[in-house]
């Protein structure tokens, strides 16, 4: 390795770096810089890049370069330390615009006039200042509204797999999400990390068709952008979301896709730095890192806005125990799991009946919010569907003919549940009453005695109606 001496261009700027390792550069013989400080890097060709200080030593720094280090040379790169963390301009003007992963406009428009500049890392919310999310969001999708209810301020990811219709499902959620009886629409913050152009295009077209584009802020760090930039994309997006929600009191829906790509970028940096790896070579701090994003959902006192997060991730090999879905599930307030088997049988949306869960459901449903029977019918649909799985397994061994009459009813219920309750058209928006009535319709295929999670009064009122 050649050693290059750097030259101080000013008190904060230097020419020449000592080492380039993957997406990292090491600069020494500099003044002492701060941890996590923003760095501007200029190539000999005049190209500007941004980076962050990952490690601050005496007279040296390890810097991670968002746009990657291609094109950098040891002697001709100049590095300027900004003396502050990465801050992005925030303002209502950003609605309707498209930015890259670090908040620079890429739609050809001018830099937005920012009201303020906020630190992308955010600041932890004091748990005593949070407002517990309780307000039911109707998505018009039965599998969600009926069984995995989303509430305003929740973080509810979509766990998907390659080739499954997560984009369709998410787009449908975005199109149909509303609070019944309220006339406020959601502002949408959309962060794309490492996904292909057509995915971004699909969402943009969708926003356009529904006429909400001027209510959307897009952050695109697509597959051809350097992977490190993905690390900043969700942070930038969430910073704007926080501004809109907590300063402008708007209800914000944040879509982040694909979190698996984000995690891979994190793994890449960690590997280059030679950190002790944890499961599947992901760094041990993956949990904390993901939490620093997902925990930025919610509501706080003194502001009437909210941040609802719907992150999307693809499970490598459809494996829900892979570190990315696993650690996500440990942080988020439930998950909507898409199932390949349902999709292959042509069922849309292929929302898995059992592993999907909404943890905030209990507070958003019931009399005055949805309907008094909601909790019980949902629980019963789950329980009965679990039984269907057992019966199907049995049928595959002994043959359907050998099943008892009761087991046969379960088979019938399973079919109806999947074909009538789960299945719906992409443009079909069901009211919560329709969803619950459908639930009763399919559960009524089972004899009353089997419905142990439902009260006598509910049976009288709804069973077989």
């Amino acid at each position: 390795m050649i050693s290059v001496k750097n030259e101080a261009l000013s008190s904060r700027e230097y020419r020449g770096v000592q080492q380039i390792v993957g997406p990292l550069i090491i600069v020494d013989r500099i003044h002492n810089v701060g941890f996590n400080e923003l760095v501007e890097i200029r190539t000999s060709g005049g190209e500007e890049k941004l980076g962050l200080v990952l490690e601050a030593g005496e007279g040296m720094a390890v810097v991670q370069v968002f746009e990657g280090t291609t094109g950098l040379s040891l002697p001709d790169t100049s590095v300027r330390f900004r003396g502050e963390a990465l801050k992005v301009p925030v303002g209502k003007e950003m609605l309707g615009r498209v930015f890259d992963g670090v908040g620079r406009p890429v739609d050809g428009g001018p830099r937005p006039i920012a009201d303020e500049r906020w630190d992308v890392n955010g600041v932890p919310v004091n748990p005593t200042a949070r407002t517990y999310p309780k307000k039911f969001i109707q998505t018009g999708i039965s599998a969600i509204d009926g069984m995995n209810t989303l509430v305003r301020g929740q973080k509810l990811p979509v766990f998907s797999g390659a080739g499954l219709p997560h984009n369709k499902v998410t787009a449908q959620i975005v199109r149909q999400a509303k609070i019944v009886g309220e006339d406020v629409s959601f502002a949408i913050v959309f962060a794309a990390m490492g996904v292909k152009h057509d995915v971004a295009r699909y969402f943009i077209d969708n926003f356009q068709q529904t006429g909400v584009l001027e209510n959307v802020v897009l952050f695109l760090s697509l597959a051809d952008a350097p992977s490190v930039e993905r690390l900043m994309t969700p942070r930038t997006a969430l910073t704007i979301a926080e501004y809109l929600a907590f300063r402008e009191n708007m209800h914000v829906l944040v879509i982040m896709t694909d979190m698996t790509n984000y995690c891979e970028a994190l793994r890449e940096i960690s590997t280059v730095r030679g950190e002790i790896p944890s499961r599947k070579s992901y760094p041990g701090y993956l949990y904390s890192d993901l939490a620093s994003l997902y925990e930025r959902a919610g509501m706080v006192e003194q502001s009437t806005g909210s941040i609802t997060q719907v992150p999307i991730l693809t499970m490598p090999n459809d494996d829900i125990s892979h570190p990315v879905p696993d650690l996500t599930g440990y942080i988020t307030e439930g998950q909507i799991v898409l199932e390949r088997e349902l999709a292959q049988r042509g069922i849309y949306p292929p929302i898995a009946g059992l592993p999907s869960l909404s943890r905030l459901m209990k507070d958003g449903i019931g009399p005055g919010m949805t309907r008094e029977d909601h909790a019980h019918i949902a629980s019963q649909l789950f329980a009965a569907y679990a039984k269907v799985k057992d019966v199907r397994a049995l049928a595959s061994v002994i043959g359907e003919e050998e099943l008892t009459p009761l087991d046969n009813l379960y088979i019938k219920y399973g079919e109806a549940f999947e074909q009538q309750f789960l299945s719906q058209r992409e443009d079909e928006e069901r009211s919560i009453e329709q969803t619950l009535d459908l639930g009763w319709q399919v559960i009524s295929l089972l004899p009353k005695e089997e419905l142990q999670r439902i009260t006598e009064e509910e049976l009288v009122k709804y069973y077989g109606k």
């Binding site: 400080e37 601050a56 748990p127 949070r130 950190e275 041990g284 949990y287 696993d326 397994a393 087991d407």
Partner: protein, 592 residues
């Protein structure tokens, strides 16, 4: 009090290294840089130290000063703890909110105990009384439920030369002066205690009293004794937090310390908003009047997560020392272990299994060792029961944290993914869970519950085992081929699972069950089996059994019979017996 003891020369996230260090002590509390971020010395090597910093280190640069306090990281122990919510290093989050708004700024320093608030104090000693550490100096009614006992700090002994009369004082008032061999020492209503050092006790005692949690599957099948240790492992969404919350709400502990360690902010908010409105059935007072919360949520600094466990257990010990039975929940100990791993990694220590430091088991042991039933220095009986959630990656219990934890706990409430998916809550597996406290608490249950209790419990566990074997057969050939005597086992177990084991945390009636309700429900189900078997042996069919009118009432008994009206269960048992006998008689006669 603070003076410069070294200069920062490397910043690696939450771990900061410093050079040219003089007069530093291991585990000393320090402040770093101009923002005075708080940290703790975790490694001393020649004139170099490593510090774990409890706040975000963004912007911290080499060259910054390290200020030593000369003291270990400590908590303040005195009136005002109950009902409070603290971060991992005991900073008062409610006060921080009033000072700084909805976000937690860096470098903020506020006393843990309110210095302005006046507490009514009643002395319990007089001039010239000989006193020693742990002895009760006086009392303060902290809440309507907790009489806070002001203790002589452990280690101090001598005679009282001055004691304040009954009256209202702030926590830092010198409430007494103790003449010791080293001179006169003032005593305040609070004293500091280093979090990493367990508080002294007089003796450890055996425990024969269960911690009643009101959760049937726990109390009846896998009980924990007061002073015991439990692990609650489970994959995401299987119900660890719900179990911890249920125990925090309904257990018969005097004081509850709840540590949210690296988990969700909303879960702490939930407790904060719910507990003041929930009434403790035993005292008739809001649950918040016995609860202390420690919150280091997953987005708060990782080093403070490591400390939060010790902060919590030290507060628990303090209430134990006042003669209380304390239950402490740590959700999740895995996040604590991961914090340990992250800090260890940043200090470039040699990793052992899965990157965890080799001292992980030692640390786990030290934590769980701080549980127990004890005789306090003041000669009273107090206890700490630890209930630690474990979040194994991929829900796989063979990983290091679960495995090592298992060595130090004696009750294991294993949460099962399939049960959770079928919405069988609490998803505590009856096959994988265990309790080693059963022999300890059996006398209590036969005395307070039912003399037959051990037999009922044994019988139902036995049926569950048999059922799980029968299910293997059923999976291959269906249930139809089994004789009715075996199908009865399936039937009874299904009844037991649905009515007894499943317990809804959200149902007003079902959310907790008193001991009599549990015992009577158990008895009804066991008797259903015994009498049912008898009837079948006499010739009745399972179908007939199922069709009895009483069955649907049994199925709904948990919802329909409130804790205060368990005599209805006696009536139900009576009806069951009559209907069963009638069934049996029909066949008895027809046979003759």
């Amino acid at each position: 009090m603070y003076k410069v003891i070294g200069i920062v020369d490397r910043v690696l996230g939450p771990v900061v290294h410093a050079r040219d260090v003089v007069h530093a002590q291991m585990l000393e509390l320090v402040e770093v840089g101009e923002e005075r971020l708080i940290g703790e010395i975790v490694k001393l090597q020649g004139n170099r130290i490593s510090i774990q910093v409890y706040e975000d280190t963004t912007g911290l640069a080499p060259g910054a000063s390290v200020y030593g306090s000369g003291m270990p990281l400590s908590v303040e122990l005195g009136p005002g703890l109950i009902g409070s919510i603290y971060d991992g290093v005991q900073r008062p989050l409610e006060t921080i909110k009033h000072r700084a708004g909805q976000f937690i700024p860096r470098g903020i320093k506020l006393p843990s105990l309110d210095r302005e608030r006046r507490w009514p104090f009643t002395p319990a000693v007089r001039q010239k009384d000989a006193v020693s550490g742990g002895q009760i100096l006086g009392t303060v009614p902290e809440t309507q439920r907790i009489l806070h006992k002001i203790l002589i700090p452990p280690g101090l002994s001598g005679s009282i030369v001055d004691i304040k009369p009954e009256g209202e004082y702030t926590v830092d008032t010198e409430i007494a002066v103790v003449r010791t061999a080293q001179g006169d020492r003032p005593v305040r209503m609070f004293h500091p205690w280093p979090v990493r050092r367990g508080r002294p006790i007089k003796a450890r005692l055996p425990s024969d009293t269960p911690l009643i949690t009101g959760q049937r599957v726990i109390d009846t099948l896998f009980p924990v004794a007061k002073g015991g240790t439990v692990a609650v492992p489970g994959g995401f969404g299987t119900g660890k937090t719900m179990v911890e919350h249920q125990v925090a709400k309904w257990s018969d502990a005097d004081v509850v310390v709840y540590i949210g360690c690296g988990e969700r902010g909303n879960e702490m908010t939930d407790v904060l908003q719910e507990f003041p409105h929930l009434i403790d059935p035993r005292s008739g007072r809001p649950l918040m009047e016995r609860t202390v919360l420690i919150a280091n949520t997953s987005n708060m600094p990782v080093a403070a997560r490591e400390a939060s466990i010790y902060t919590g257990i030290t507060l628990a010990e303090y209430f134990r020392d006042q003669g209380y039975h304390v239950a402490i929940m740590a959700d999740s100990t895995s996040r604590w272990a991961e914090a340990l791993r992250e800090l260890s990694g940043r200090m470039e220590e040699m990793p052992a299994e899965e990157g965890f430091p080799a001292y992980l088991p030692t640390r786990l042991a030290e934590f769980y060792e701080r549980a127990g039933m004890v005789e306090t220095l003041a000669g009273e009986k107090g206890s700490i029961t630890i209930i630690g959630a474990v979040s194994p990656p991929g829900g796989d219990f063979s990983e290091p944290v679960t495995q090592h934890t298992k060595r130090f706990i004696r009750a294991f409430w294993a949460l099962d993914r399939d049960l959770a998916n079928a919405r069988h809550y609490p998803a505590i597996s009856w096959l994988d869970s265990y309790s080693e406290y059963i022999d300890d608490v059996t006398p209590w249950w036969t005395r307070e519950g039912d003399p037959e209790w051990p037999r009922f419990r044994h019988e139902i566990l036995d049926l569950l085992q048999k059922e799980s074997r029968l299910q293997q057969v059923v999976k291959l050939v269906g249930a139809d081929v089994l004789p009715d005597t075996q199908r009865l086992i399936l039937e009874v177990c299904s009844l037991f699972k649905n009515t007894f084991l499943q317990q809804s945390a959200f149902d007003k009636v079902d959310m907790y069950s008193t001991v009599p309700k549990q015992v009577k429900m158990l008895k009804i189900i066991v008797m259903f089996y015994r009498w049912g078997l008898d009837a079948i042996q006499k010739g009745a069919t399972l179908l007939k059994l199922r069709k009895m009118k009483v069955v649907s009432d049994i199925m709904r008994m948990k919802f329909s019979v409130a804790n205060e009206e368990t005599e209805k269960l006696d009536a139900l048992a009576g009806r069951l017996e009559r209907e069963m006998r009638r069934l049996g008689e029909i066949y008895d006669i027809s046979e003759k």
